[in-house]
Subunit: 331 residues, 2 copies
């Protein structure tokens, strides 16, 4: 295993310490609960938004905390749902009188932790709603999931409800917006290589040098099939076809197009993939109004990428265009 | 080779097409000269800033074109300097009456191409100055370099002169600022793995599973030495010591700290590295006023990272804080 790591069991806490040190004005780290929160949370004038999940998907979700995005993120260990009491404590610390919105990618472990935390919080009088995200078209049911998995498209739900919250939206309105965004968002990814969890120290699954996993999950779950490595045009066509045919997206649609790197693929390749996807959509009469190229939801050091489409309307476009500030920035 | 690639000889043009498609309002791509320029360049009210280099270091430099940064970038093929006539044409297309500033990382091939282009441009009456960047403390002279190499610290020169240019700085003033930033900027990197150039199809150099290259160059040039893979604390201490002792940076200094990923290392590891570096600097009495964690200057899919320090004064801090807009963005 060639990684920057000390004791593997401190991998996530040490990452979170670094994150907090790099953002002393905007973020607070609460080590007892593995929790990253906005320094200015809670804000009584807005609903509070929390997302949690296993770690290893950074920048999702701890690096998505900030103005216009999340109020807090409570990650579990690598690829493990956060414990219920961590979620509960996170809710307590950032709860606003306007309510709390929990965003949960659709995995059984995450659902359980967040549903229990919601029950406990409601019993204590906190107003809580939960929104499940399931944008992955690859498979129905999977290793850790009943139904579809939630993957990189989750960014658009965070961004839209985050913007709505800053504008003062009530909890029910934010849920309506988030459900709408999720309903018009579709993703499929593929792996060129497996990833290596620090605590395991070796690749999570075996993928021969000449094969790829089409439709891979972000925890290395199997996708639709293994196939021989092919040129980029062929791979990207398969991803775009799977995504575009699913909703389906139709000629005349205006979309946001995201090409998300899974962790080990450099940005030069992601832009090459983006160019192919953009042209394939143009061939279908689908026009790209907003572009996102980079890492949004990764799987540690996995080489590979996913393609996400969001069908835009005026409301969604407008919310996606609002400003936001998180740890992930260039300047 | 597991990459998103069609014909390897089209790797760079296809990446640049994708970059232009993702940024239709702000960037223009001129395929005849491999050139990415601001859609609104030249702007007669400001000096024009150009950087070129071999490709494979993205986001440097084609994804650093935009308001407050570069007016154009003319990349060569992977790890190859751009041809002189490409540089010359780039100067012609974005030249402003206030003058043109060429930023060149200190590699012999790049120096030759840019120095010849400067001569030709001056002969045609264009006002041109060139600024060489050599922030890498690892080695004196290297495979492609006389003197020190220019690496990730180059970002700070681009950012500072880019901001000065937007404020209306004259050419000589921008050169003064750029030289000052370069003089207080130091970097050292290390490789966990080699990178694989698409046209070669195999790793550029051999690095055993239990060894790392300390002080590696961004084209895989040898650094100070090979050593056994060690825990993150030990690796980062060696990088921070080499960088901090070089200028040297002293107790009481205020710095910008960049942890730059070399392409294959995920952001979770970069924040872990950042946390260690931040604490080691605190032990030396050096305080971090600005933080940069992510990919700024890569070496294709190489796993590894570099650490950069910039000693800040009011002028540099102020210029670094100015807004800028490039293709690399989250939202």
């Amino acid at each position: 295993m060639k990684k920057f790591v000390n004791d593997p069991k401190n991998y996530i806490p040490e990452m979170l310490q670094g994150l907090a040190l790099a953002n002393p004005d905007s973020l607070r780290y609460v080590p007892e609960y593995n929790l990253i929160m906005r320094a200015d949370a809670p804000n009584d004038d807005k609903i509070s938004i929390i997302q949690g999940s296993g770690s290893g998907h950074e920048p999702a979700h701890v690096m998505s905390v900030g103005k216009g995005m999340l109020d807090a993120a409570c990650p579990g260990d690598v690829f493990s749902a956060p414990p219920t009491d961590y979620v509960l404590e996170t809710i307590k610390r950032v709860a606003s009188p306007k309510g709390v919105l929990l965003l949960v990618n659709n995995y059984t472990g995450d659902r359980m932790a967040f549903e229990m935390a919601q029950e406990f919080s409601e019993a204590e009088g906190t107003k809580v709603r939960t929104l499940f995200i399931d944008d992955d078209v690859s498979v129905q049911d999977s290793t850790y999931t009943v139904g579809r998995r939630g993957v990189a498209g989750n960014f658009f739900v965070m961004k839209a409800v985050g913007a709505a919250a800053e504008r003062g939206a009530e909890l029910d309105e934010a849920v309506r917006i988030g459900e709408k965004v999720n309903s018009v968002t579709r993703t499929m990814g593929m792996a060129l290589t497996a990833c290596t969890p620090p605590a395991k120290g070796s690749p999570l699954f075996e993928l021969p040098d000449d094969e790829v996993e089409m439709g891979v999950g972000i925890h290395g779950e199997p996708g639709r099939r293994r196939e021989k490595l092919q040129e980029a045009d062929t791979i990207v066509r398969e991803l775009v076809d799977a995504v575009a045919d699913d909703l389906p997206y139709a000629s005349g649609d205006e979309v946001a197009l995201m090409v998300n790197g899974l962790g080990g693929t450099p940005i030069s390749e992601l832009y090459l993939v983006y160019g192919i996807a953009h042209r394939l959509l143009a061939d279908r009469g689908i026009s790209v109004a907003r572009s996102y190229v980079g890492e949004y939801c990764t799987s540690l050091d996995m080489a590979g990428a996913s393609v996400t489409l969001v069908r835009l309307d005026d409301e969604i476009s407008d919310l996606l265009a609002d400003p936001a500030e998180t740890a992930i920035r260039v300047f």
